[in-house]
C-alpha cells in the first residue's frame, strides 16, 4: 500500500500507436499500489490508453519527433493523470455514441475515445494549451474507501 504522501510518476511516450500501453501499464501499477479495486484499475487503463491515443493521433498527429507526457499524481484518496501533447486541444465535449446512427451509416463508427474516457473516470477535462501547444486531458479516479 502506498503512503499517503503525494507521489508523482512521469512517463514520456513517443507519438507512435501502441506505446499507449506503456502509460496504461504504469497507471495500472500505480493504481494497484494505491489499493484500487481491479474493476477500477481496468476503467483507468482504458481511459489512460484512449487519452494517449488521442494525444498521439490528434494532438501530435503521429509526428514521432514529438512526445506525449503522462504525469500521474497520487494522493491518499485519488489518482490524477495528465496526458499532455503539442496539439491545440480537443474541440467540444464528448458525445455519447449513437449505435443506431452508426449502424445506419449516419455516424462514424470511430470517435468513441473521449466518451469512454469521460464514462470510465470520476473527472475528465480537456484543456487547450496557451499558444496552441501543451494541451492536456486531466483525469481523476477516486479511491472510494467504503467500497474498496
Amino acid at each position: 500500500m502506498m503512503a499517503s504522501k503525494p507521489t508523482s510518476v512521469e512517463v514520456r511516450l513517443p507519438s507512435r500507436l501502441g506505446y499507449e500501453k506503456v502509460a496504461m501499464s504504469t497507471a495500472a501499477a500505480v493504481a494497484k499500489l494505491m489499493g484500487f479495486r481491479e474493476d477500477r484499475v481496468e476503467d483507468l487503463k482504458t481511459a489512460v490508453a484512449e487519452a494517449c491515443i488521442n494525444a498521439i493521433e490528434h494532438g501530435n498527429r503521429l509526428n514521432e519527433g514529438l512526445s506525449v507526457g503522462v504525469v500521474l499524481s497520487a494522493d491518499a484518496d485519488r489518482l490524477e493523470v495528465k496526458v499532455i501533447d503539442d496539439g491545440k486541444g480537443m474541440k467540444g465535449l464528448p458525445r455519447k455514441p449513437d449505435m443506431d446512427r452508426k449502424m445506419h451509416g449516419e455516424e462514424d463508427p470511430r470517435g468513441m475515445g473521449m466518451f469512454l474516457i469521460q464514462a470510465l473516470v470520476d473527472e475528465a477535462e480537456w484543456v487547450a494549451g496557451a499558444n496552441g501547444k501543451s494541451s492536456y486531458v486531466r483525469l481523476v479516479i477516486r479511491l472510494d474507501k467504503d467500497s474498496e
Binding site: D39, E42, T46, P97, K102, M103, P109, L116
Partner: protein
C-alpha cells in the same frame, strides 16, 4: 508495441443444429487489426455463414479503434442478413461494449457453450 492480432475460423454446429461460424481472435484488437478482424470476416461465405460467433477469450486489449472495427463488421453483417454474437469478453470489456451500445446488435455470452446453446 501492439501485439499482432491473430484470427482463426472454426465451423461448429449448435445443439439446435444450426451451423455457426466462429471467428477466434488472439492478441490486441486495435487500429492495426483491420485485416485480422474485417479481412477474416469479409472472407467468409455470406450464404453459408448466417450465424457468426466472435471469440474474444484470448484478447487482452481492445481500444476504441478496435471497437470501431467490430462495429464496421456488424454493419456489414446487418447488410448481409447475418447475425453476430460474441463470447469471452472480460467483465470490463463487456461493460465497455454495453456502454457504447454494441449489445443491441451483437448478443454477448460468457462462454462458447452458453452462446451455442442459445443459437
Amino acid at each position: 508495441m501492439q501485439t499482432d492480432t491473430k484470427a482463426r475460423v472454426d465451423q461448429l454446429t449448435s445443439p439446435a443444429g444450426h451451423p455457426v461460424t466462429v471467428l477466434r481472435f488472439e492478441g490486441d484488437i486495435a487500429s492495426t487489426s483491420k485485416d485480422a478482424v474485417l479481412g477474416t470476416y469479409q472472407a467468409l461465405n455470406k450464404e453459408t455463414s448466417r450465424l457468426v460467433l466472435l471469440d474474444f477469450s484470448k484478447v487482452d486489449y481492445i481500444n476504441s479503434s478496435g471497437i470501431a472495427l467490430v462495429i464496421q463488421m456488424l454493419i456489414e453483417a446487418a447488410n448481409s442478413a447475418q447475425r453476430v454474437y460474441a463470447f469471452g469478453l472480460s467483465a470490463h470489456f463487456t461493460k465497455v461494449f454495453t456502454m457504447v451500445g454494441i449489445t443491441k446488435y451483437a448478443g454477448l455470452f460468457p462462454s462458447q457453450s452458453e452462446a451455442l446453446a442459445a443459437l
